[in-house]
Point group: C2
Chain length 200, copies 2
């Protein structure tokens, strides 16, 4: 029996983009369903049924069973469709590092993202500081943690879509402050999975 894979999503969601990139990387065919609209504050009955705890997209429904929370979905995809190269290294210490930077993405990059639009200089400065931490961590490595594209890259790359609007509306330019991150993001954009998913 063929797998039935359905993604409940909203096109502009950076968390949904992580899952779309993961599915594209693994070559998984799926049905895309727009089941929420942030602007109109709409959530479908199917979404509320499939994610009753958080009531949030993205939700991956695989053969009828829902998986919620973008990073958990990405790990699930990696473990189910494991014929393609895994996104976590085999070494436990490197795996911990990959999880650390993935967690950093949620807590610091997305978690503090409202402060980009803050009118307070020190809040914007604190947000930029998070990118400088990433800049230092990446150094001269091609990707986060290991030499190959992986879990932390998927978790982090979807914020690249914000860079233009931050420059336009946020009164500072990440491009100018963090050239290493920008070079990494452009490297990621060479992957079809990412170029097709992130907004232009």
């Amino acid at each position: 029996m063929a797998d039935e894979v359905i993604l409940l999503d909203f096109p502009l969601s950076a968390f949904g983009m992580r899952v779309r990139i993961a599915l594209a990387e693994k070559g998984v065919k799926y049905e895309y369903r727009e089941e929420a609209d942030f602007m109109k504050r709409i959530k479908s009955d199917l979404l509320l049924k499939m994610n009753p705890v958080h009531k949030k997209i993205p939700v991956l429904i695989h053969n009828g069973k829902p998986v919620c929370e973008s990073l958990i979905i990405v790990q699930y995809i990696d473990e189910v469709w494991k014929d393609k190269s895994p996104w976590l290294p085999s070494d436990p210490y490197q795996r911990a590092q990959a999880r650390f930077w993935t967690d950093f993405a949620d807590k610091k990059i997305y978690g503090d993202s409202r402060s980009v639009w803050s009118t307070k200089g020190e809040e914007r400065e604190a947000f930029l500081e998070n990118f400088k931490v990433l800049e230092a961590e990446l150094g001269d490595k091609p990707f986060f943690v290991s030499d190959t594209f992986g879990f932390a890259d998927i978790a982090l790359v979807t914020f690249y879509g914000w860079f233009y609007s931050i420059k336009t509306f946020g009164q500072f330019s990440i491009e100018a402050e963090c050239p290493t991150i920008v070079a990494w993001a452009k490297r990621c954009m060479q992957r079809e999975s990412i170029a097709r998913t992130l907004p232009d």
Copy 2:
């Protein structure tokens, strides 16, 4: 060469307790170092050096290399000392469920925990609602997700230490509202690793 394992911790930390339970479950010998004091707002130089990003305990230093963030440390311990039974099931869907409830522990139980002490009834009610979600999820299972003690149990059980103070100071009793959770916590407390770690 024997493993050198050092835990930077603070005795009252529920996050530190997760790591102590994990190390005890695996029978890992380690050096315990109190490197922070929440009350006095003290953090040692060693802690700042080993966790420069978050500057928080717990940190596990294994043969000189630091691992940070309690849930990442617990997974690391599981993967390094893998001769004892693993805390994550082998089935990808069950693994995703274990990660979901572990993530719920951080986002909802610890994340919303300040509202326990709120003077607003609706905030306390929302906090209690999180426990009712857990109560429904556990149902008649002995442990979260699978029949054996695992990742989500380690992540969740350290809040059991709060029940007494919530009852004393928080104006409501989780025991009375969530008997299934209390029975599960008492089941966990039969494990030496947990009975020795949680406050009496």
